[in-house]
């Protein structure tokens, strides 16, 4: 992730993050770590309109019988692991994590930052940027 216009940094700040996709099988809507309690989880997920159909089931039993595989939204948690190009004194914190919702249809990403020591519900909004191109292009790599 690259953050631009960071007040205390001379350059854009790049961080490396790792994500968890909520698929109920490997990861559920309940975080279970990073100082996030189930109440915190529900408070954040309910901020996404696309979570509404699942709210009652998740509150009742964690949503263990939900099948999200054909749902056109993908729920994730993103946790930044380290700063790639700056030191930890750049003025940004990576102590918390993001609750994220990706909309497959319009290719937008929304998220809310959670960190007990930071202001709550700081928003993340990402849209696909074509960088002057008239279309959507894809590069690929293949690790051996």
């Amino acid at each position: 992730m690259e953050a631009l216009n960071v007040p205390m940094a001379d350059t854009p700040v790049v961080t490396f993050w790792e994500g968890e996709i909520v698929d109920i099988k490997n990861y559920t809507f309940f975080t279970g770590k990073w100082e996030a309690m189930p109440d915190d989880d529900i408070k954040h997920w309910t901020k996404f309109p696309s979570f509404a159909p699942f709210q009652s089931q998740v509150q009742a039993d964690g949503g263990k019988s939900l099948d999200l595989s054909n749902y056109p939204f993908i729920f994730m948690r993103w946790k930044e692991q380290y700063f790639v190009n700056v030191g930890t004194d750049c003025g940004l914190t990576i102590a918390g994590f993001y609750y994220v919702c990706f909309s497959c249809a319009d290719v937008t990403i929304n998220g809310f930052y959670y960190d007990p020591n930071s202001s709550p519900f700081q928003k993340l909004e990402l849209k696909s940027a074509n960088e002057g191109k008239t279309g959507f292009s894809f590069s690929s790599y293949e690790l051996q």
């Binding site: 894809f138 590069s139 293949e142 051996q144």
Partner: protein, 712 residues
């Protein structure tokens, strides 16, 4: 009559990880000629008051039987435990002379007579003595020494030794069996034709005889030659497996030979295993498992190997966590063995953990990484053991980030970089394999952990010019991972002429080298800037790229197209290059889309078109012309096939092309009209409930863009 143990019917099989077999052709004089003294004997063998080894070899052809017998004994005693001396005597032509002595003694006939009644009990007659000494000498040449085995076989000694199995004196039988066992413990022994009736009967008879060496011989033959499903089934049906299990309570030699032969009979054959062991494993399984705590390290290793073979064939028996942990901890302990057991142990560990995440976790918890790392650090570790350790580490780092992180935290890059310069080719390859798996760590790639390491980058670039193509391919595997462009640390690689080497290797005569070099270039251009892309176009030329797209090898085509895909993902300027030299690259892409049957190649090709279609009007029109070469005649058949492909990836990529062609732009409306008139939009409408979610969403995106042309 004895069953024929000849001819060689198939290349030798090695139970451990396959390696390239180096066959040393040893040319030896087959006739006994005392004047035929090789001139290549090393100086150390010609010293001594009595003439040393040269003279000793000459005495093997002496007319005096006592001199001959003493010479036999002396040769036998000298070579025991010394590969150097064995090789020295082989070069001096000792083996065919010994074989001749044995042959003459057998032909004599007396050696098959019982010893005279007057001779002391246990004493052999002279002929039998010669037989014992010559057979023992041949066995010693073959013992643990492949060159010795080959020399003994080349001297025609095998049938001679087989004859001894029928001798009336047990001592002679024993020495014959022992020597044959030495041969059959080598991969160079000829394949025994288990399926041939007489051969099978003979084999069964060996297993049912008294005498440990004879039964061990039978087991060794099975371990060596039982390879096919039919042979394994024959072992089961002939009752051989039951007999082998009974040896698990026998002597050390019988236990070890039996474990090896059971492993051969079970390998990759779940049917034989379950039919023999029954639903719960029973006595056979317990007997094998018990041996994992035997006092003899070799027995423990062989028992583990046998259980691993069973586990890899079927998960009926070794399922429980306890069993798996036991196997891991036993093998890790055996790593400390200073001898051959410790050398082979890492290969057995690899066969246990390869491709299995659950075992990677168990191994990690058992500190396998630390133990293997410690083996790497030891001074003068022998190449076989080092190779095994590197490959075991590679297996453990193949899947889990936790394993890679643990491994990297042990400061391994420096020693690994050192091994990239090792004089042994196998070690260089193993080091590359280990690095390749470790560099799959996206987390560490992003941090530039590898590309910032100048020594590592330098060593890898050097390997790209290694004399061995296998090493080049192995090095390319590492390079193609570390150049993935998550950050901008490629400058060191470029500065050290890494890119130049990749250009050069993309023109190699060896397909694996070409495709791996292209993969590295492809990865290098992932989200790369225009400067990097220009350098590639300059270094490779449109003509070379087009030729690689048209290459005979599918893997080369695929990587060449993937490289172009990345090259054209960017600015308008980067797309322009595919039109250079009369659009030679674009033509090549089009030709593959029309005629290549391989889905991976087609996928890259269609993404090339999709990326070009993000350019300006000229670019979009070029793609449109490629899809609709003749107005009013409908789209190219390949295009319709992609839309209707059973492969959702192809359907999706094709829809993206259409999305890009119909996005609002000056010529978009005209293209949309064409899609409508050529029947493409109606095909797309039929995909509105595509079973693949991604395709369904993008079809709806496309139809929304083109909604002037009908309902959906």
């Amino acid at each position: 009559p004895f069953p024929s143990l000849f001819p060689f019917s198939s290349p030798p099989y090695k139970s451990f990880r396959r390696r390239r077999i180096r066959f040393h052709a040893i040319l030896l004089p087959l006739s006994i000629d005392t004047t035929d003294m090789p001139t290549t004997a090393s100086a150390s063998f010609t010293s001594g008051a009595d003439g040393g080894p040269t003279s000793l070899v000459a005495r093997l052809s002496s007319g005096d039987p006592d001199v001959k017998l003493r010479a036999l004994r002396e040769v036998k005693n000298q070579i025991i435990g010394s590969k150097t001396k064995k090789l020295g005597y082989i070069k001096l032509g000792a083996v065919p002379r010994v074989a001749s002595i044995l042959s003459a003694a057998i032909a004599d006939g007396d050696c098959f007579q019982p010893a005279p009644a007057a001779s002391p009990r246990g004493m052999l007659g002279y002929s039998s003595n010669v037989v014992v000494q010559s057979a023992a000498a041949l066995g010693s040449f073959a013992c643990g020494f492949d060159e010795g085995v080959q020399a003994v076989l080349a001297a025609g000694a095998l049938p001679l030794l087989v004859r001894l199995l029928d001798h009336p004196d047990d001592k002679v039988v024993d020495v014959g069996a022992r020597s044959l066992k030495m041969i059959y413990q080598s991969e160079f022994a000829p394949k025994y034709e288990i399926l041939e009736r007489k051969s099978l009967e003979f084999l069964v008879s060996l297993l049912n005889r008294e005498g440990e060496n004879v039964t061990e011989l039978g087991a060794s033959i099975i371990a060596h030659s039982c390879r096919t499903v039919e042979e394994q089934k024959t072992m089961l049906e002939a009752g051989v497996l039951k007999r082998l299990v009974s040896f698990l309570d026998g002597s050390v030699g019988q236990r070890d030979a039996s474990l090896g032969s059971l492993a051969a009979a079970f390998r990759n054959n779940a049917e034989v295993i379950t039919e023999f062991m029954g639903p719960h494993g029973g006595k056979p399984f317990n007997a094998i498992f018990r041996l994992t705590v035997d006092s003899n390290p070799k027995t423990r290793l062989l028992a583990c190997q046998c259980l691993i073979v069973i586990r890899n064939a079927t998960d009926c028996y070794v399922q429980e966590l306890g069993f798996k942990r036991k196997l891991v901890t036993t093998l890790l302990e055996l790593l400390d063995d200073p001898g051959q057991v410790g050398d082979e142990c890492p290969f057995v560990l690899s066969s246990l953990v390869e491709g299995k995440e659950d075992l990677h976790k168990i191994a990690l918890e058992a500190d396998a990484m630390v133990k293997l790392r410690n083996c790497m650090d030891k001074e003068n570790v022998n190449p076989r053991r080092l190779r095994g350790v590197l490959l075991a580490l590679a297996d453990l780092c193949s899947k889990l980030e936790s394993c890679r992180s643990t491994f990297l935290s042990m400061k391994v890059l420096k020693p690994l970089t050192g091994f990239l310069n090792h004089k042994e080719e196998d070690i260089r390859i193993a080091a590359c394999t280990c690095l390749k798996n470790v560099t799959r760590s996206v987390k560490n790639l992003c941090a530039g952990y590898f590309m910032k390491n100048e020594a590592l980058v330098n060593a890898l670039i050097l390997l790209l010019t290694d004399a061995s193509e296998e090493v080049q391919v192995a090095a390319l595997g590492v390079v193609s991972n570390i150049v993935v462009d998550f950050t901008t640390h490629k400058s060191m690689f470029v500065a050290h002429e890494g890119m130049q080497q990749l250009f050069c290797l993309s023109k190699s005569m060896v397909p694996a080298v070409r495709s791996n070099a292209l993969r590295a270039l492809r990865n290098m251009t992932f989200l790369a800037d225009d400067k990097c892309k220009e350098a590639i176009y300059l270094g490779m030329t449109p003509s070379l790229i087009a030729n690689l797209i048209r290459d005979d090898e599918l893997s080369v085509k695929e990587q060449a197209l993937a490289l172009v895909r990345n090259l054209v993902d960017g600015s308008v300027g980067s797309i322009e290059q595919v039109f250079a030299d009369d659009s030679i690259i674009l033509d090549a892409v089009g030709s593959q889309l029309q005629c290549c049957p391989n889905a991976e190649v087609l996928l890259q090709g269609i993404y090339v078109l999709g990326n070009i279609a993000c350019g300006n009007e000229i670019h979009k029109e070029a793609v449109t012309c490629l899809l609709f070469p003749l107005a009013g005649r409908g789209p190219e058949p390949f295009f319709v096939n992609f839309l209707l492909s059973s492969d959702s990836r192809l359907r999706l990529a094709t829809i993206w092309v259409l999305i890009n062609l119909t996005l609002p732009s000056p010529g978009a409306l005209k293209r949309q009209e064409r899609l409508q008139n050529e029947g493409v939009l109606s095909i797309v409408r039929s995909m509105v409930n595509d079973p693949c979610l991604d395709v369904k969403i993008r079809v709806r995106t496309l139809l929304t863009q083109t909604e002037h042309f009908g309902d959906f």
